[in-house]
Symmetry: D3
Subunit: 293 residues, 6 copies
């Protein structure tokens, strides 16, 4: 590609940059995009670019295989109840160490070493996320968000930090608890009345035919989601992801998008080019705003 | 070009964006880039993009053929003395109308209609540029800068406007006078201690062999300029341009660059890609910073 | 007059100064007061004094004979349709140059040279005035205000500039258009919810008997205006002026006054002495506030 | 006087207003101007006008006959030592009550009732004036300024109050003490690096021939004061006043003026007209600035 | 007491400090606590400590025996009408001098000499308290609050001063008038929507049996006050104090407390220990907040 | 203890509170005070109290036995070289998880649950601590501070957070490294030009006779430290602690103190009572400031 073509690409980003200026974008970061070192660097670099061109970027991350690795390493056995990990004190201790001590600091460090400005925190810091335990007897320290203190994020964003947040909350007794990363990110997006909530995962988005990536549904008005559930277009592991997006858009978040984290620079393609990628969820308008720019 | 390649280009701009964050960039805008409607739109759009990704952009423009057109139209004859136009009152009146009333407002309007935020002013507004007449008896209202009130620009930049400045100043008697656009832009860049001064013109830059564009000198340490004058590498109309850049870099401006305004997106190529374009002037360092990024 | 009498005059201005502290005053400036150099200097000096004692002064100016002079000079013929100039592209170009390039810069320059601080802009700058064309087929680029972006004026006023505004707007296609100066000033006053709108013209105000200046009506409650139209007390060229004032007072402007710009220091007499001058328009109160101080 | 003449007077005040914009003016207020109700109202109104047109006005007042009246009334006998009142505890109590409780509050109240905004304080409030006793054994609570905490005045001025200050300080033991009003005002002016220090008294200024008011010396360069002492041009009660002005101008105050408080609107004549009044003290320049405007 | 016990006491204050952080506390200061030098120092020191640990403290003081002393000393006879002093001009002059000139400045001075930061003002300063005369014919200058300009207090508190306020107001004719200190303090507390109003007096609080201090009622829900009046639990001089507290709590003040100023450090015990002291008035909650901490 | 005694203790804290107002206090927190749950709660509560009464408190913590516990648990063997742990990648990973994921979050959570406002970060966040490796070949990821970006701490402190910092830095290659907690705390104190640096450990301070606590040296002028080394008064594990304090006081920190974290409320005793505790290090003054209050 010659420099004129490159300049053309950059210039074409201008209307996108104008559209997202000062907009709050919450990114749920996880899956393959967090496992692969090269993808990780690319995602964080993309997030920095979005921040640099004017968006207020917030990153919420989960844990993934690192938690299992360290549970094994420390010889702690987890039992699962209805797909949820029984989180006793010893498990919780390891979960917290891996999320807040390993992954969170590694992500923050990588942003800093790329020349960015990040602050790695958890839901405990500044009382960001207060939680209640879902089912303490069966599940132990598994919480759900009861309140988000958005001031913590605003304090950091206003002085130029990208908040990198691990999905740990504080329960009513002042103890740590584990919160599902999608729920954590969605809850923070709702509390912030974010303009965009990005759910990054290992799927291309909602497919008409799950075996055929070319059947990607580019955008879904949220009132039609129920219909898609009933038709089994959305099924299995896709259901909680779509529900999370739908819930966000129903609660003050302007748009949500399921992005494929395995695609290099998916964030840039979605936010700074005309292409768009993944499945966008929006409300009430005839067409999603993405397609209008 | 597919979206992955596009994303790659955008991502590659990040270090450039980081490097120029909050930097003051003064652009002397003129020549073909101001005559051709399509180039004009492209230059202004490029300037907006630079502003949007974090630079403080200031545009200083000259007049060009419009002035002659309206002098003719109004049947006013200009005499030239040593290449400088004798600017009597009637001529000055037309010069001011064309610069501040036509070109300045048209540029400002175009930025606004592209979604930007610009304020079209002159050296008279807010007392921005105070001037003294060079040779009132022979040349009339031809001035040179005696003082720049940078507060005017800072006031506008701090609330997000791109100042678009026409090269009119106020002389010691409170009358308007015409100032050479290169001098005007250079003088403002010096007063602002700008990080970059861009002199946009209709040449590719300094060429070893003026008949061969491939002999472009990419960067020149300013202490070597005298040598290039003596060797006739720099001669003719190139001399005042190079002197203007040299003068800027000798007086608190960090870098100056002669850019070819006829190349679409020259500003973007220079500031947001690894390529660079035109001839860069710098001081004392072994290599110019551009080549280091 | 001895210095004690002078001090008395100054002291008597105090309650007026207190009353207008931080009040927004929009002055439509035109007519003889803009043609005569001595009156011009006096009006601008008066406006500066009002600004200095605490008012937020905004000046909106029209064009007057200068436009015809330059149309003639450039051999452009104007046709009039129902009293409105057909404004084709060539005409518009000259109108813009005269308004924004000549008159606007001359006024701004004079304020600066008197020691004031002014910024000369148009409705195009910062997107101040968005307009729609009244009748593009017959009239060409003659617009009426559709939206005023008051932030532009507040940005300038907050850092101490007197905005001097020429009556050019930007239409929906991003082109320049000409707006009647009274409409421009009134529209800006309404958008700013100004405390005072001054319509400076070449008449003493509304006269009971147009041949007898001693029959000046000092103040008119706007609900009685219709009655005065029907009785032919207000007729001819006075009708649009009165309508403009009435419209302003009906739309959030506290008071409007038609002042005779031919009277030296009319602004000072109106705002800083007990006398008052011209005809004041107010709403609903038994007596206008001017008479109460 | 007709309204045009009035307007002329007001307009002529503009350069004076421009010259004193944001300037700090400390007024020692006392003598007849404080005794006569009509003069008092006029002085306070004048001070408000100066504040309103942009000066930062600070008023320091003394006590005068009220102190003797209340000492008599309370049957307290004062002895004088070298012209200074022996200020025992009982005397000090009455001095403080009269200065801070009667005069100070009456002045403040009058400004408020005229529509101004004043805060009546003493040197004790906020630790404004720290003092040392001059000669505690012979004189009791008679202090001289050792330190001025200008922050107190800046706090009040920055939110629009005129500070009205009574000449009470706090000595090193934390007790109240009386400070000569001229010294108090001069000391505060020096600490504030005031632009003007006005010493209002019952004399026209320095006279060549004390019996002939027409021999008023309009301005005195402070290096010539010694000479005037030796020639007895300045003698008697005039000496401490001149010394106070000289001391101020030698210590960072730009100009000092001895004004005749018995002349109505002396402040306005001095600051807002071309006339000037009283004797001005200045430093090193050939002519005082007053005469240059 | 050893240092560990001391540390324990300090640590126990933490929840109280947290609870009152940034809370507005208006203290009516008078009675014995103002007469006795040692108690005075202790009260002011306590107030400073409350300010230092985060409360916004405002002190309103009355006059007490000093007024009678100086009326006697100046041979001015007061007549009382229904328990209210007839306040003619001469009396008012002395009342003002004692309140604003003696007591106010002495309190302010003591705070400053203890290392605090206080500003001694009256209801006249900045137009803090506007009043109407209760019964000018019979009582003379006895006023009641008609309006409080809370901005004055906010201006002082925001830059760290403890306002010390004497109970003088300005009536509709711009004259001084005397306001009952309890009314003055209560009125200011109401206007400020204070969190706490402390009425310091020479009683332990409301007693079931006035002869037995052990029968102190610790807290009273204000809807029960009427009942206590009817049962004569509250009678005599206690009635206006209780009414003042009730009125405050009924008008936006969160809590009021009658404290015994004769008890050393009563303010500290009430605000920074678990004990509480005196009688607390609150509204609608089952138990007063004090007992919950 | 009765409430009057308690009030006395609180009142006596006032001069200490005044002295430390807005002072920056860096606390190295570790040892027994971090192991024992009850001591931990007491230390954090004390730190909150210090913050609440006006100090800017920064907490830096180390790791202690938790690191060994988790190294064992994960079957990672550490080798020691000259008393320093060889920190290979796997060890560093655990060290980081324990410091930044377990201890840091637990401390932050405890402050939050006590009603405070804390932000748990590391030297990596915001680029707070840049480090160089001491001896990468032998020791692996053991770093020493090369630069501290104090802006991170100022950003947090200015909006009311207590920064809780774990001793992890980022080396020149952008990798995590372990920094000795005393060095980390001391380095941060120096960069902040802290007023106080508290080194909390498990010793009473410097003892003349290490077997006799009654021989505590209350304060040491730092120029005498060398002498104490030579006399073996300071020896063994005490040497690095004293060196750390001496280094701090020699480099812009005003005072350093070695406190016994095993004593409940040692921080309160040191900062808010007259007693003082531990050994204070100061420079050049005859007596340490602590003893003067």
């Amino acid at each position: 590609m010659n420099s004129f073509e490159m300049a053309e690409v950059l210039t074409n980003a201008l209307p996108h940059i104008q559209r997202y200026d000062k907009k709050m974008v919450v990114i749920k970061y996880g899956g393959s995009a967090m496992m692969d070192e090269s993808l990780k660097k690319s995602v964080l670099s993309d997030a920095m670019l979005l921040a640099k061109v004017g968006m207020n970027v917030v990153i919420v991350h989960g844990g993934g295989p690192d938690i299992n690795y360290w549970l094994d390493k420390a010889d702690v056995t987890s039992t699962f109840v209805n797909g949820l990990r029984q989180t006793n004190l010893e498990t919780m201790e390891i979960v917290q160490m891996v999320l807040a001590g390993k992954i969170n600091k590694d992500l923050t460090r990588m942003i800093q070493s790329l020349g960015g400005k990040a602050m790695g925190i958890s839901g405990v810091d500044g009382g960001l996320v207060q939680a209640t335990l879902k089912n303490p007897e069966d599940l132990g320290a598994v919480g759900e968000i009861s309140q988000v203190n958005t001031e913590v994020i605003e304090d950091l964003v206003s002085v130029g930090y990208i908040p990198v947040i691990s999905c740990i909350g504080m329960d009513e007794d002042g103890n740590s608890c584990n919160i599902n990363a999608d729920e954590m990110a969605g809850g923070i997006a709702k509390a912030l009345k974010a303009d965009n909530f990005v759910l990054m995962s290992d799927v291309p988005g909602v497919l008409e035919d799950t075996s055929d990536p070319s059947t990607l549904i580019q955008q879904i008005e949220i009132s039609t989601v129920e219909h898609l559930y009933q038709n089994n277009v959305i099924s299995g592991g896709m259901i909680p992801k779509v529900s999370c997006c739908k819930d966000a858009v129903e609660n003050q978040v302007k748009q949500a998008v399921i992005l494929d984290g395995r695609i290099p620079h998916a964030l840039i393609i979605e936010f700074l080019t005309d292409s768009g990628i993944g499945t966008l969820f929006y409300k009430e308008e005839k067409e999603a705003e993405r397609s209008l720019t």
